[in-house]
Amino acid sequence: MYRTVCSSLYQARLAANRSVINLSIPKNYKSTLVLIEHKNGKLSSSSFNAVTAASQFGFPVTALIASSPSTAAAIATQTAAIAGVSKVVVAKSDVYAHDLAEMIAPLVVETTKAGGFTHIIAAHTAFGKNVLPRAAAVCDASPISDVIQIEGVDTFKRPIYAGNAIAQVKSKDPVKFITIRTTAFPAAAASGGSAVSEDSTVAAAQPLAQWVSEEVAKSDRPELASAKIVIGGGRGMKSGENFKMLYDLADKLGGTVGASRAAVDAGFVGNDLQIGQTGKIIAPELYIAVGISGAIQHLAGMKDSKTIVAINKDPEAPIFQVSDYGLVADLFKAIPELTEKISK
């Protein structure tokens, strides 16, 4: 039902505009909707990267907020202040409290229809990945995931095969649903914007699923996928207890700890820390690979890091071929020394 409404509306809209203005792209029919991610009354860092990506189309950027009534005002104020956002639409309802895709996707669809948006952007996080394809399906559009570069209004670059190839793709859909890789777009400034804010007129969907509980890691350390500094431990760590050394270093640097599959398979750490092709793909400012040989599956998960450091006692380890700085040393001596000597 949505599907027909969605696509026919756009076709009509596009056709109408094309007949009026030839050659140049009519500004008034293209506009970008960015889905804002937030938690506990605060914007997620990924929202700022998503706004930057949305701004790159050169069309006015409207930010969509789905929130429980208790946090909506705070989120709207923070969003309206982001540089590059021209309008904020706030949907307030208790059903939006826990980011359920079944509730937020219909809101995205209805907002898209009502506002005539041609580009719908979200960050490629657990939230964006969950919601955006569901909304796209309702509009009969093929989503474009994990975009690392916006080349034009319909042309994008995205990694495939765990980053071992980069595909340049062109979308022929009238409305493009895009998730962006946060590490590929700088964060928009949190201040300087002065967007107008309005309440959404879309009625909340009937709840299909129900949120029960959550267990959020109580660590003060940043989350692995978005941390600016990550220390990765491999088989060379020899035991789970030895990972404490890496946590000490991470704490000193304000970073967090990850692991290679070898370290996970050996039982040193849980597999939520696994970096690589079947684990998490990260691109921090600084990645320090400790006791990691550098198998291709691991490289796939971290080779887009800005600076890579390898500490390994084997000078032939493949990790040294991709590291900006390699230190051939015994990690059990080098890591404590590094932790001691680094001053923040």
Binding site: P133, I166, T278, T307
Partner: protein
């Protein structure tokens, strides 16, 4: 409780251990080892465990792909699936997640499973969309990135624990529902030789996209495929002091 039929989507992909090569603007896939997408192995394993716990009555493996995808279905059957459905497409045809979701929807309408389990993403296109697209097309609840599945309310509802950024959350949804498997859901079993032999006798139904009335024309065109920029690595430092100095003064990252 019995009677829950589980449909599992599987995909034949280039084996995860293969270092892929980009040749002439394409990823070389001819004469390269293929296997079942690792996340789909987890999906099949979960479905088979549900059957072993007598929660599920039947496990159906479904794939979309060229003739060789049958090997992947045989693997699923050897792991414990009861029957398989192969929607055969031409070798080299680009079938995108939206089209796969439409084909799955057509099969779901025929087979009416109570639960559909897919992998969270395929390791070739890395799209991570099919489960969510399918849930959107059917307007069914979705439990993506699942690390645990349980049943509640007299087996009428599913409890899915999901891997979210920074932790886990648990959702409850009525069946039928779509679940996508994350790495932590389980440890897939190896197919034993007797089971591989038995799998050869299990039913495998073949269909084509036109049998299901689905148009495969993609709306996303791949203009080019290139290798990622090479890293200019290889510099070595002599000491921890030199490393700290380089990170501070040259790279500016600490």
């Amino acid at each position: 409780m019995s009677g829950l039929r589980v449909l599992v989507g599987v995909k034949r992909v280039v084996d995860y251990a293969v270092k892929i090569r980009v040749v002439g603007g394409k990823v070389e896939t001819a004469n390269v080892k293929h296997s079942m997408n690792p996340f789909d192995e987890i999906a099949i394993e979960e479905a088979v465990r549900l059957k072993e716990k007598k929660v599920a009555s039947e496990v159906i493996a479904l794939t979309v792909g060229p003739a060789k995808s049958q090997e992947t279905l045989r693997t699923a059957l050897a792991m414990g699936a009861d029957k398989a459905i192969h929607i055969e497409t031409a070798e080299g045809q680009d079938v995108q997640p939206l089209q796969v979701a439409k084909l799955f929807k057509a099969i779901i309408q025929k087979e009416s499973p109570g639960l559909v389990i897919l992998g969270k993403q395929a390791i070739d296109d890395d799209a991570g969309q099919t489960g969510q697209l399918l849930a959107g097309l059917l307007n069914w609840p979705q439990g993506t990135f699942a690390s645990k599945i349980e049943f509640t309310d007299a087996a009428k509802k599913i409890l899915v624990t999901r891997e979210i950024d920074g932790g886990l959350e648990t959702l409850k949804a009525p069946l039928p529902a779509i679940v996508t498997a994350d790495l932590r859901l389980n440890e897939p079993r190896y197919a034993t030789l007797p089971n591989i032999m038995k799998a050869k006798k299990k039913p495998l139904e073949k269909l084509t996209p036109s049998d299901l009335g689905v148009d495969l024309a993609p709306s996303i065109e791949t203009l080019s495929i290139a290798e990622p920029a090479k890293r200019a690595g290889g510099k070595k430092v002599e000491s921890v002091d030199e490393l700290i100095s380089k990170l501070k003064n040259e790279a500016g990252v600490i």
